[in-house]
Amino acid sequence: MNDINIIELKNITKRFPGVTALKQVNLEIIQGEVHILVGQNGAGKSSLVKLLTGIYHPDEGEIFFEGRPYEPRTTFDAFQNGIRVVHQEFNLLPYLSVAENIFFEKLPSHGGLVNYNKLYKDTESALAKVGLNISPKTRVETLGVAQMQLVEIAKAIHNESKVLIMDEPTATLTPKEISRLFEIISDLKSKGVTIIYISHHLQEIYEIGDRVTVLRNGEWVTTRPLKELMIPDLVKLMVGKEIENEYPFDDTVKVGEKIFSVENLRYRGNKHNISFTVRAGEILGISGLVGSGRTETMRAIFGADQREDGKIFLHNKEITIQSPKDAVKNGISLLTEDRKTQGVILSMNIAVNQTITALEKISKNGLLQNNTELRESEKLVRDIGIVCPSINQLVRNLSGGNQQKVVLAKWLFRDAEILIFDEPTRGIDVGARYEIYLLLWKLAALGKGIIVVSSDLDELIGICHRILVFSDGKITGEVNREEFDQERILSFAYAEYIHQNAQDLNHEIKTLN
């Protein structure tokens, strides 16, 4: 390898009110490598990306791009230099079509007129590349989170670029999409594109990474060839201490009687009925591919969307749930998958976000008790380990992972009996994830019923008593802890799609291995 540095950061410092996001960071990115960036939530990874793309500007230090000083003032400057990015948070246009979203940086046009034929044709190929099988005319607001993520990726890769930065692109993807993404990455790499890749999924980075940089508290810790560092080493460097077991499984927790069950539930647009039960103290995992209907099912249970059919029982008594309010009143909570639009209130502070699920706890006769709120909120911040200058910080100014922790906190604040978590660890670092698993166990030990929907199969296998597998809107499998097995679960996940299309299956299986 002739090591030319395509990007160099020299003594970069970036401060925000109350936080120094990056402190005197030095970093060199070698031309053509896949450079992995890891670090705890709030370590400064996204800030670094934003410095490179002209969204933030460094308070101190210099950046060099291809040997020349590089001071992007806007994202456009970055584009013009050939730097593209998939941000951690989506930046899509909900009411416009997928095609326009992918291409609106530069719509194919002639004399100011949009060339729709070309637009849709180009979009089809861009979508095919990321394996998203939808019409280019689909409006983005109708897509699921994972699909949106794929649209974002398609948007970033359809253009030629020298450097492609991906900030947690796989947080919501299932193995199918992830393996497709990795193919794309190696393809780009073979064309000489430099890639900066941020992820909290430490297993996956070994499939693609060349070198890794660890950030901690805004400081550079190390940059090494990935081969030299195994996961435990990485974790230690990131967290500052060792975590022996990534997935704590507590077999002292007794699984009790059935407390919650869903019978013949059918969400709008689905042909199948869904039934399952949850027992006290049980952590039930829900697995499946993107679009398999997990989120829809949970939303239907929670009353977030209307149900077509079905009954819900708590303690063997039927309960009526027409709205989230009914659900919450009956002791059911749902941590939604899309935190930005459904989870947090970005322009309000941490305290408000955390306490909104149980305002009665911080108010008397409709009057807010500020001291109580302060106390409760600070306690939650401590318990969950939210990195922030104070509880008055706006959620908008938190790092992605810390925003996710705020969402968790708000549901912990409400003592529900049945807690449904849809992608609870999305964007959360290993250290904090461990803390969250411990929290789940604490809840289980209290006899609550817990449902975890996750696209991270290792996570489900690591912490669940039982896993249900969804496939195309149907439960195709149920596996108990003793029988947990990756292949088996995946085959359930594909079950319904196999019937549908044998050809597709071949493709899927190929990409899977």
């Binding site: 806007t74 584009f79 899509l92 246009l93 009411y95 416009l96 609106f104 940086e105 719509l107």
Partner: protein, 324 residues
């Protein structure tokens, strides 16, 4: 499959059109002389100016903005155009052309001001255009010395009463041309798509390297342009220029746009919808008058129908979604 699709299209895109047709049928059955060619000509004449303004308003609202100054700016534009038009010692064609340029020019300038100030200092368009509403009105009164201007060339005045095929009023054709231009821009040009994109998520558009300021200013200027054209239409129709006209034009244009399905928070809507919205308002005004309702009853009923039309529309959208 295909027929289901086209039903869906009618339900989704043409929903407000169905409501319009429904209203027209009701009036045709109940209001004497409603369903006559002459009356339709009347209605077209009456909705022309609001339609023209609504075309520009749609651009601004699609961006998530609003323009409260359209009525005052229209008045100011008629005053300037009117002054030019009655200038002595000028050939009539020259006067007409210069007058149109003056009217449209001042409209665009006001629009540019609105756009520039709101973009440059990131001020809510509501405030800027509220300010402009006062500025333009004051200027119109000052320049005209509070007097109506009239005495335009006869040929000019005549043109305003011409009906193509004896049915389509000339100014309606101008309004229709604006609708078509507006529709075309929104649907088929990069500028149009940018309007939607900015209305959806300005930050995202900015981050992908576009200069959103230019597009926003252009949208306000376009709105000013349509107001300028509407000013000339007004002069053609009423043969006067007046500093006090145009109160309520802003609400009417916003109403047409919103009834037509454009979201006040931007990013969603269509020019066809806006046109249908303007038609609904015009047909209501006309039909309720013909039915013979008293003034107060007319006003009350208008209020209910405005609400009702949009309520119906939400049911339609729900139904349309279900049949997908």
């Amino acid at each position: 499959m295909k027929s289901k699709r086209s039903i869906n299209f009618i339900l989704q895109e043409g929903g407000i059109g169905l409501i319009l047709i429904f209203i027209v049928i009701i009036f045709a059955l109940t209001a004497p002389r409603f369903a006559t060619l002459l009356n339709f000509t009347n209605i077209m004449q009456q909705i022309s100016i609001n339609t023209a303004i609504s075309v520009g308003m749609t651009f601004v609202i699609l961006l998530g903005g609003i323009d409260l100054s359209v009525g005052s700016v229209l008045a100011l534009a008629t005053i300037l155009a009117g002054k030019v038009l009655i200038t002595e010692n000028m050939s009539i064609p020259a006067a007409v052309v210069l007058s149109a340029l003056a009217g449209i020019g001042v409209g665009m300038l006001c629009g540019l001001f609105n756009g520039f100030v709101s973009v440059r200092w990131k001020i809510p368009p509501f405030i800027v255009t509220l300010g402009m509403m006062n500025i333009a009105r004051g200027a119109a009164l000052q320049i005209s010395n509070s007097r109506t201007i009239f005495g335009f060339p006869t040929s000019f005045n005549k043109f305003g009463t011409v009906n193509l095929f004896n049915v389509l009023p000339s100014i309606f054709l101008i309004a229709l041309a604006l609708v078509i231009i507006g529709h075309f821009i929104l649907k088929y040009t990069v500028f149009g798509r940018m309007i939607y994109a900015i209305g959806n998520n300005e930050e995202a558009v900015r981050l992908s390297g576009h200069n959103t300021a230019i597009y926003k200013i252009a949208a306000f200027a376009f709105c000013g342009f349509t107001v300028g054209v509407a000013a000339i239409m007004y002069m053609l129709r009423l043969n006067i220029a007046s500093p006090i006209l145009g109160t309520g034009f802003d609400m009417n244009a916003i109403a047409a746009t919103v009834i037509g399905g454009t979201s006040m928070s931007g990013g969603k809507g269509s020019m066809v919808g806006t046109f249908l919205g303007a038609c609904i308002i015009g047909v209501l005004n006309n039909g309720l008058l013909l039915i013979g309702l008293g003034d107060n009853a007319r006003q009350i009923v208008t209020g209910f129908i405005i609400i009702f039309a949009v309520v119906i529309d939400t049911y339609r959208v729900k139904f349309a979604n279900r049949t997908e």
